[in-house]
């Protein structure tokens, strides 16, 4: 939490400075946009790891009179959840800092999935917002409906799958960074021990992250097994904590959570068990048990997209960031992580930066013994997006059927 206040203070001071200089181009000290990647070629926006929507056309969603573009974010959780929504809000603050007086950002937090989302979007459009970011999977239907209603508004959706001419999707390869964090968990647990995972929903996005994590555990601890508890929720600290406690009492020697809150860390802290977090760096608050976490940096892509809108070059598409453009990253290490492990993670990080999803280099065997990725091969983008099997070493079954 202290880290969060520090970040907030830095952000606040930075934005004050920006305002004082009349929005001169001061770049933040902590994060920088990937150099040259946001260069615009031809009419439409181009960006590393961004595939334009097939048959898509440029959507003009900036105000015609050249006034500041209004951008809004719709969050499912509170902006201080210590995870998912908080890092999205850090992204929004980064946008405001970077683009200065060219943009006016706002957000709505704690928006429940369902009919309320459309009402919130209606309100945002009425307030003049012309580029709207959605950050929860469950908002997708409402966003698609709104996109049809407001064809002149640009919609950016994180972690969905349906693109439209004015609905872009953005996300990234957190399976790669979850793999790196798995290396730390495998090193923390004694040889052959069980490692626990608290996971939200059994959907490809989450399953491939758990698979990546498990492969990481096996990198340092080849005989270790992984046990997963599904919470069926993105954000519910009470349920997350209960799930973590059930894993801890079943004897796991290290634990990871891919949830929006740090509740698992609180349960792990009680027993002093090493913890791999998610989304946010909790290395200060959970100093004793912290290993590391897979994190996201949403801001640079959002800056590039808003700049594209201002330039009249916004186009829908699919952005899947990775280690090479620093969209995904890993948090600071805790004191439990040894120098040898850090060195191993560093070298693996280099390998995955050069070749995303290299941790899935075949042979990859599923739980039931079938070979899913052949020897020496890499999974295709489609294979990754549709991953619906658990790798060998995970002892719990997938929930459905």
């Amino acid at each position: 939490m202290k880290k969060m206040w520090k970040l907030a203070a830095i952000a606040a001071t930075a934005s004050l400075l920006v305002a004082a200089c009349g929005g001169s181009d001061s770049s933040s000290d902590t994060t920088t946009a990937p150099d040259g990647d946001s260069a615009v070629n031809g009419d439409a926006f181009t960006y590393t790891n961004f595939t334009p929507f097939e048959g898509g056309t440029v959507v003009n969603c900036a105000p015609a009179d050249g006034s500041a573009i209004k951008a809004a974010w719709v969050y499912v959780g509170p902006i201080n959840d210590g995870g998912w929504t908080q890092t999205h809000n850090v992204g929004r603050e980064f946008v405001q800092e970077t683009l200065g007086d060219k943009v006016i950002t706002t957000y709505k937090e704690n928006v429940p999935e369902g009919p309320q989302v459309e009402a919130v979007i209606d309100d945002l459009v009425k307030d003049g917002n012309t580029i709207i970011f959605g950050t929860s999977f469950g908002f997708q239907d409402a966003f698609l409906a709104a996109a049809e209603k407001y064809p002149e508004v640009c919609f950016e959706f994180a972690t969905g799958y349906t693109q439209k001419n004015n609905v872009s999707q953005f996300y990234g390869a957190s399976e790669d960074t979850k793999y790196l964090s798995g290396i730390a968990a495998g090193a923390e647990a004694p040889a052959g021990a069980t490692v626990g995972v608290v996971a939200p929903f059994a959907i490809p996005e989450v399953i491939r992250g758990i698979n990546g994590f498990t492969l990481g555990v096996q990198k340092t601890n080849p005989t270790a097994t992984v046990k997963v508890v599904w919470t069926n929720t993105w954000f519910d600290p009470a349920i997350e904590r209960k799930a973590a406690e059930s894993l801890i009492s079943s004897g796991v020697k290290a634990i990871a959570s891919f949830q929006d809150s740090p509740a698992t860390g609180e349960a792990a802290k009680v027993k002093g068990i090493g913890w791999v977090g998610y989304d946010s760096d909790q290395s200060v608050a959970f100093n004793d048990i912290w290993l590391t976490a897979s994190t996201y940096d949403w801001g640079p892509y959002e800056v590039a997209k808003i700049q594209a809108a201002i330039d009249g070059k916004w186009i829908s598409g699919d952005y899947y960031g990775n280690l090479s453009d620093k969209f995904v990253s890993i948090a600071n290490y805790g004191k439990k992580v040894t120098e040898a492990t850090k060195a191993l993670i560093a070298s693996e990080r280099e390998r995955l930066t050069a070749t995303p999803s290299a941790e899935f280099t075949g042979p990859i065997t599923a739980q039931d013994g079938t070979i899913k990725v052949a020897e020496g091969k890499l999974p295709t983008y489609g294979d990754l997006m549709g991953m619906n099997y658990q790798v060998k070493g995970i002892t719990t079954d997938l929930p459905q059927s």
Partner: protein
Amino acid sequence: MQSPLRLERRLTQPKWLNWGVPLLSLLGALILGAVVLMATGKNPISVYMRILERGFASTDAFSRTLISATPYAFTGLAASVAFRMGLINIGGEGQLYLGTIGAAFAGIAFADQPTPIIITAMIICGMLFGGFWAAIVGVLKAKFSTNEIITSLMLNYIAAILLDYLIFNSTSYWRDPKSFGFPTGKRLVEAAYWYDMSFGPIKVPFGFLVAMIAAGIVWFLYNRTRFGYEVSVIASSPSAARYAGIRTRWKIITVMSLSGALAGLGGASDVGDFRHVLDAKGVQIAGYGYTGIVVAALARLNPISAIFVAVFLGGLSNAGYALQGPDFPSGLVGTLQGLILFTAVAGEILTRYRIKRQTHVAEGVPS
């Protein structure tokens, strides 16, 4: 030390209190809210104008308010019906979930029928499922004197787990086998969508009309029939009711089931009017059932007032989202909403009690 003021029960309640007190409470809330707003550097007038504009004053804002109000109206009615007989039904939440399950079932099963038949089937199934869930509580209370607060609350959690099971952990009838990635329910065919009614520029969800009709029926049942009379006798004295030959056990089961059926109807409207799918997660995040208890309390358990209170709360919550932003934290929105609800409930006391100054309290007299 003795307080210089005391509350004294009013023997008669003058008519003007019925509208005077709510108005005064609202005024009080606005003044208190203005203090908070000014302390945080906001202009209260412009904030209030925005609440009015985004919650109620324009036709499309009011249309959106009716959308938010519809589920509150049903759960408010459900709570009122039970509370009127002294049954503390906290289970509107779970009963509404069951209603969504029942209605989604009917919507899928009758997909090839004409719209009026599908809607009727959804309404009936939603009510049956919700009513059944509440009847469990009623039977336990009637037969074993189990505390209904606890059983109805616990059944909320079971209903939530059941919802999760149907969509996330099984290949149930409700689950779309083709849902890529994220497990979702089967989407209803368009013929099963409930009607969008328009009165001039104002769009009214079909479910809201159903809620208004239901409120009328409940009002009639409780104020104009023997059934309602017996319920009010039980509420004021169960033993006297038994002595008078009223079958209190059956009343408990019936009233609980009725309450659950109304919450279930809210679930049916949730599926038919808005989501068109059994949305296991979305309906749980919304928490309509718990809000219904607030609606019932503010409406003083009057079914007709419950509709108005639901609209008021719907507008307030929509306006709350409109206010939110980087310079207006959601905590401040919650504070304003909380102040309005708090003063409304506090004002409620003044309609039944009046404040008297303690004047002649003799020393040594135990009080």
